[in-house]
Symmetry: C2
């Protein structure tokens, strides 16, 4: 039975996990740790955690006695925590993460976790978020209706893993188990490419117009939606770019070529083809 | 005093103009014409128009006695109507349009309209719409809070023009007068580029995945928003691409180069620069 949870990283996702657990009826203790004392204090004040670890070392001490440890920090920091936790956790304990890329995490987990006498690691990825982060934006309902992806190391879930998946189901999420490499490839298309695209467009507009009043006055929903993700923080996306470089580069190159094709056909019937394919894509959704 | 209005093209924008006029208290007669008898019937049924012209010829007859004629068809069709109407309209009458590009329309208007004994042409562009068209989606409130751009031929508005601008103000729109070339350049950035980008991304995904279930299952708000405009109809955008080719091609090329730069810097500190510029752009909005 899960009685004690430690959330490492109490930003938007971490604090929302705490709130969602409470809202789903979890009555055990939730401890939290964040490098930023502001984020940590905000998470406590919102009721996402019961207690704050006083330091990284204190968090590692709590980790020894936690049933479930949720790593809700950027991907490279997740990998650091996986290394730090491996020697001090053991059988019966579950470590899980919410990182945006999964292949490197899954490979590291296979080295450090699982097997006799060792803690289990369940790589996870809730497809939820906002363009701005921080505990202040956390919500108990953030995962309601969202997809929570897993790239498990073993096909036989332990009792702790089953229980954790059960809680996540109570958040109103759907879930899907995938191969980690496939996960990273699909996420490059549906998440990382839209992000990079939006960042590139917003950066280009900033360089071209700076604070030209016309852009604000004339830009409507089309501009707002296609640049919304431009507000996303580098701190998180650096790690995504670092740990999924090849798939992201492949999708970017494909889009560059597609835009070139479209540009060269603005006055030819090929443009109709592009619109018809795009219409078809949207009709499926 | 405006007593009789003819709306040519009773799709989403044309029918919404009719509904907005009624909702703002216009008590005169509104006639409509559309190539599609379905669109025309829908507009009448919704109360956007009082009467349907029986044919294009009948619409031209009504045009002779209308105070204001609103051309709400794609840009190339607007130019056709401008040619057809010029010989049969005269002093005191106002012709206006809602086309997405303005330079070619303004240049044609300068040839055909204005001056002694001739009707006045006021090129206009409401920045409102939906990703799907059609009278059935028309709303009296479509222009509420939107920007209505004008690229007038003369700085001295006639009485009819003042009255028409007054009605548009009653729709809850803001308005801005601009140079037509500048209009087309800015719209290439804030409207046409987001459209082409969204079309290219949706077409690429359709080609790459067709109906792969994973894309629907995993794709979230990021994918939905960046491909939403992919549903837009070719029929309208063909004319935009045809009449604003150079500005659109310029913005597409700039974006292609920006994406290449980003792709080549996924693992360098240049990526931080891009995110910071994008963050700055969003903070201004």
């Amino acid at each position: 039975m899960m009685e004690r949870v430690l959330i490492v990283g109490t930003g938007l996702i971490g604090a929302s996990v705490g709130l969602a657990l409470r809202s789903a009826g979890f009555v055990g203790r939730i401890d939290g740790w964040d490098q930023s004392s502001l984020e940590l204090a905000a998470a406590e004040q919102m009721g996402a955690i019961d207690g704050k670890a006083a330091s990284r070392e204190a968090a590692l001490q709590i980790a020894r006695v936690a049933d479930v440890i949720v790593l809700a920090v950027p991907v490279l920091a997740i990998k650091d925590w996986m290394q730090a936790l491996a020697p001090i956790v053991g059988a019966g304990q579950l470590i899980t993460d919410v990182g945006s890329t999964k292949l490197e995490i899954r490979e590291l987990a296979a080295k450090l976790y699982g097997g006799d006498g060792r803690a289990v690691f369940l790589p996870g990825h809730p497809m939820a978020g906002k363009e701005s982060g921080g505990a202040m934006l956390a919500e108990a309902g953030l995962f309601d209706g969202a997809m929570w992806l897993f790239t498990p190391l073993s096909e036989k879930p332990t009792a702790a893993e089953k229980e954790w998946r059960g809680w996540i189901g109570c958040f109103g999420t759907r879930s899907l188990d995938m191969d980690a490499a496939r996960h990273d490839e699909i996420c490059a298309w549906v998440s990382h490419l839209p992000q990079m695209l939006s960042t590139a467009l917003a950066a280009l507009l900033e360089d071209t117009f700076a604070d030209a009043a016309e852009i604000s006055a004339i830009g409507g929903r089309a501009l707002r939606e296609t640049t919304r993700l431009g507000a996303s923080p580098y701190s998180m996306w650096r790690d995504v770019a670092m740990t999924n470089t090849k798939p992201i580069a492949d999708t970017l190159l494909a889009l560059e070529q597609r835009l070139t094709h479209l540009r060269e056909n603005l006055r030819t019937p090929e443009l109709r083809e592009e619109f018809e394919l795009a219409n078809q894509f949207r009709r499926r959704r």
